[in-house]
């Protein structure tokens, strides 16, 4: 369960709204059920009290919305950011995607977000309500008399199990206590794949990527994908295909997508969260992050504003491409 | 094998004549490889032309249905398909399918009436087929007035046909206008909507409009100022189309599909539709 209460967030936001310091509040809005939460812009205290939520399903990274929401309007917009979201925020600022002065960042500590898919694997469909307790979620369904109790760590989303940082790298105001940058095991899964044989890797990715329906959710949710005209929407790019016509197209799309955000991806994990086909897209991005770390030195995108991406940089003694791919085998 | 006719599979057309009308408009004559008309059509209908590998696009058929030998398309260069068409040579094969859309009601609502055609720029293209149809069956209609405007004299489409044929017809009046004064132009200068107002037409007729959206908008106002009812005014719409048969889902305005229920709309029907065109 999240340690900071919803009320505390609402109170903070209301104060800033009522005092005129911020014009509106970018936060999470309650849905039909206890887990379907929509990013929303709140403009009054009443709206906040009625609809604002802060719970274990507020996974959505709000930083990308600032690109559109800060445009063409005066005043500041309050945004609630979890630690991982602050990296995206910095990265967007690094790329001059919006004006820092337009955002008022409230840093919210995060205990990790639950993955509704993992919950449904346990409870099955038919969830009628979810109660948040200290270490467990208590889930009532249409088909069980008694609520099902599930420990958090069983349903924590993959990205939170491998959380890289509980520390907010940017904020105007912090609620609660800030955490630390963590030693995470986030590259374990990548290493596991690297250890496979070439055939096994091929089979693995073929199986994963063949499920892609090219809905573009991964691209559209990605805080690093803010091009005004995406290469996949440009008929002159030669890759403007709306469907994965075959396995080549599937690979092409995902290689290009991961490559375009290489050196800029903060590993927020939104791509895997939104994928309707449950493709572990973060494993592509993490591969690039891991390679960059190994070949060019540790680099965490979004850690500071104005960092130079390793892909627009070089040293005279960089590793040779042929050597890089052969090294792993030896 | 039980394979039906498939609307999406086109026929081959051969370009047998290319007329350069204006700096950015060419008129293409298309027949089948054995020299026939690809299909019959009615005035105002469209056809899908394509160049494999480049794309497919919808164009209105400029020639009159009374022409039984070939079809013509006046096409302005503005996108990748049109650019390719503009660069092609005589004898080039393209693909063609159609006819698509609802035609102008030339044999019902128009019959016996006086007609006023108002066109701007390449907007003359769809109207030319109606005008020539009505000229062919001259006795079925009353007076015919044609107001046609473009940016400059060079941009007037079918200038020769207009001056040498249409203007000499009995009971056909042609009013040409260009946007800005120009040497060797002694005709009217000014925008179409204002010209329509100046000409002060009687409202005992049916008006048919086609041109850039902004021209249509202001001409509609001008006509209404002259006392025309929206029921007396027809226009044609153009939106993105892919299938031409009301299935691919993009050319709709409200519940109407331009490719199937249009492109010809009466203005009172149009004002019932949401403002999304």
């Amino acid at each position: 369960m999240q340690k900071i209460s919803r009320d505390k967030l609402i109170k903070k936001a209301s104060n800033l709204l009522n005092s005129g310091i911020v014009r509106c509040v970018l936060g999470w809005k309650r849905g039909e059920f206890d887990y379907d939460i929509t990013p929303n812009v709140f403009t009054t205290e009443k709206e906040l009290i009625d609809d604002f939520v802060w719970n274990d399903f507020c996974g959505a990274n709000l930083s990308k919305y600032l690109v559109s929401k800060t445009q063409g309007v005066d005043g500041k917009i309050l945004v609630f950011l979890k630690p991982c979201d602050t990296y995206s925020f910095n990265q967007l600022l690094t790329e001059h995607r919006f004006d820092r002065e337009r955002a008022y960042v409230i840093a919210v500590p995060c205990e990790g977000m639950a993955d509704i898919n993992k919950i449904k694997q346990i409870t099955n469909e038919g969830i009628s309500s979810i109660e948040f307790n200290e270490d467990t979620l208590s889930i009532s369904t249409l088909y069980n008399e008694e609520p099902i109790k599930i420990a958090y760590d069983r349903v924590l989303s993959e990205r939170c199990l491998n959380c890289k940082s509980k520390k907010h790298v940017v904020y105007d105001e912090l609620l609660g206590d800030d955490g630390e940058i963590l030693e995470s095991n986030r590259f374990d899964e990548v290493e596991k794949i690297e250890k496979m044989s070439s055939e096994e890797r091929f089979e693995f990715w073929q199986g994963e990527l063949s499920r892609c329906i090219r809905c573009n959710a991964c691209r559209d949710v990605c805080p690093a994908c803010t091009c005004e005209k995406c290469v996949f929407d440009n008929p002159e790019s030669g890759v403007e295909n709306k469907a994965s016509a075959n396995s080549f197209e599937e690979k092409l799309f995902h290689i290009i997508r991961a490559y375009h955000v290489a050196g800029r991806c903060t590993d927020c994990g939104e791509c895997s969260r939104v994928c309707p086909q449950n493709i572990p897209l973060h494993l592509l991005n993490r591969k690039f992050i891991k390679d960059i770390n190994e070949f060019y030195g540790e680099f965490q995108a979004g850690e500071k504003i104005g960092m130079r991406s390793p892909l627009i940089d070089y040293t005279t003694d960089d590793i040779e491409p042929n050597e890089a791919v052969n090294r792993r085998d030896s | 094998m039980n394979i039906y006719e498939e609307a999406l599979i086109p026929k081959i057309g051969v370009v047998t004549d290319i007329r350069i009308d204006t700096p950015d408009i060419k008129t293409f004559r298309v027949v089948t490889p054995d020299g026939k008309k690809a299909f019959e059509h009615q005035p105002g209908q469209c056809a899908m032309l394509s160049i494999p590998g480049v794309g497919e696009a919808m164009f209105s058929i400029t020639s009159s249905p009374t022409n039984k030998d070939f079809m013509e398309f006046s096409i302005k260069k503005c996108g990748c398909v049109t650019e390719w068409l503009h660069s092609l040579e005589l004898g080039q094969e393209i693909t063609i399918r159609g006819p698509y859309g609802k035609p102008f009601p030339v044999d019902t609502d128009f019959s016996g009436k006086s007609l006023l055609f108002i066109a701007g720029g390449v907007g003359l293209a769809p109207l030319r087929s109606v005008i020539n149809y009505c000229r062919h069956y001259r006795d079925r209609y009353g007076k015919i007035d044609i107001v046609y405007g473009s940016r400059s004299k060079e941009d007037l489409l079918d200038y020769k046909e207009i001056v040498e044929e249409w203007a000499n017809d009995n009971g056909v009046n042609v009013y040409l206008t260009i946007d800005n004064p120009q040497k060797e132009w002694d005709g009217h200068v000014g925008f179409v909507p204002n010209y329509v107002k100046e000409l002060n037409f009687d409202r005992d007729k049916i008006a048919v409009l086609c041109g850039p959206p902004i021209m249509i908008k202001f001409t509609l106002d001008a006509l209404q100022a002259l006392g025309f009812d929206k029921k007396q005014i027809y226009t044609t719409l153009e939106l993105r189309m892919k299938c031409g048969i009301g299935k691919c889902g993009r050319c709709n305005v409200g519940a109407k599909y331009v490719c199937k229920d249009g492109p010809v709309f009466r203005c009172d029907e149009l004002s019932e539709l949401p403002d999304e065109y």
């Binding site: 691209r219 559209d220 016509a245 | 498939e6 990748c80 939106l239 691919c248 889902g249 999304e276």
Partner: protein, 340 residues
């Protein structure tokens, strides 16, 4: 009506698969139900519904329409259509059965789409009554009865038995093929289950969602509503909802130059995409709000307008569980229809 015990289902599947390709809902390695081509060992899963409906067995995400060969100034058109193989889909829920009726209205109306029609003619659909609807289900809103799933054969699973009821001639023929596994049953034997499902449906969280305020003739009333701006605010403009939707059928036609010819293919397209209506000189749906509005207006107003009041949504709930920002048709209906 016939029945057989659940243990025999693999035998029945094997029998059907002898003469036609058989697709059944089965779990993939992520434990997600997908329509899978049956082969020995493919297990029927008991998930409530598949990730994506059976739409793509009739209207594949990508399919070749024709091919061209061009040389000098000549073009040759190659009709690449092939007769579809016979296939059977088992386990289609009532909502998805209805979705095919909606697709039929589009693809089988004149001029009929031969690619779709061909698959439709060769596909036999065996439905399956719901036993455990999800919280996101709202098919009853559109008058669909999950206890009467319909299609060529209706199937109920009650305790340890399957009950199969043929509804069409094709269904009867199929039942004959599996005759030796079945024993006759009385329709009264499934009555209790039907009752149970109907009662269950009333307990679902979205059971009271109504279509009031939508349908034929509501275009102008709903189009200008200012709520669209707020509703579309969070929308990412991705195509998830349209691609998982069993009734979304917009498509694009594109040419692919293979280097030695051109393939003209069609693929699913989404009205949520920014270039959906873009043409050489403009775009009539330029903003996200307009595109968002188009999708819901199409399902709730335009489609009924053109199809005697039939709504373009079947309440399967897929968009509810799949939307990255959890914005969906239910929220739209509640906001605009006034049934909070």
């Amino acid at each position: 009506m016939v029945k057989f015990s659940c243990e025999k289902i693999d035998l029945v599947f094997a029998e059907i698969a002898k003469t036609a390709a058989l697709y059944i809902p089965s779990n993939d390695k992520n434990n997600k139900a997908v329509f899978t081509k049956w082969q020995k060992g493919t297990k029927l899963c008991d998930s409530h519904n598949t990730q994506i409906g059976p739409k793509d067995l009739f209207f594949p995400q990508t399919e070749d329409l024709m091919a061209f060969k061009a040389s000098n100034k000549k073009i040759e058109i190659i009709d690449t259509r092939k007769e579809s193989e016979d296939f059977v889909i088992f386990g289609v829920r009532a909502c998805d059965v209805k979705s095919l009726e909606i697709l039929d209205r589009v693809f089988l109306s004149e001029p009929r789409d031969s690619y779709y029609a061909m698959r439709r003619e060769h596909g036999i659909i065996i439905s399956l009554a719901c036993t455990r609807p999800s919280e996101a289900c709202f098919c009853t809103t559109f008058g669909i009865a999950p206890s009467e799933p319909g299609a060529d054969i209706s199937v109920w699973k009650i305790n340890n038995e399957f009950f199969w009821q043929a509804n069409t001639k094709r269904g009867e023929e199929l039942l004959l093929k599996i005759e030796h596994f079945t024993t006759p049953a009385e329709p009264s034997e499934v009555e209790g289950e039907k009752q149970r499902i109907s009662v269950l449906m009333k307990r679902l969280p979205l059971a009271n969602l109504s279509t009031n305020g939508f349908g034929k003739g509501k275009t102008n009333e709903l189009f200008e509503r200012e709520e669209w701006a707020k509703l579309s605010e969070a929308c990412l403009g991705c195509g998830t909802c349209t691609f998982v939707c069993p009734t979304c059928q917009c498509y694009d036609i594109k040419d692919f130059n293979t280097g030695n010819g051109v393939i003209r293919y069609r693929c699913w397209d989404s009205c949520m995409y920014s270039d959906f209506t873009k043409m050489a000189h403009g775009n009539n749906r330029n903003t996200r709000k307009e595109r968002f509005r188009q999708r819901f207006m199409h399902k709730l107003v335009y489609f009924p307008e053109n199809n005697n009041g039939l709504f373009g949504c079947v309440g399967c709930g897929r968009c509810i569980s799949k939307c990255p920002v959890s914005m969906n048709i239910v929220k739209v209906m509640k906001k605009l229809g006034g049934n909070v």
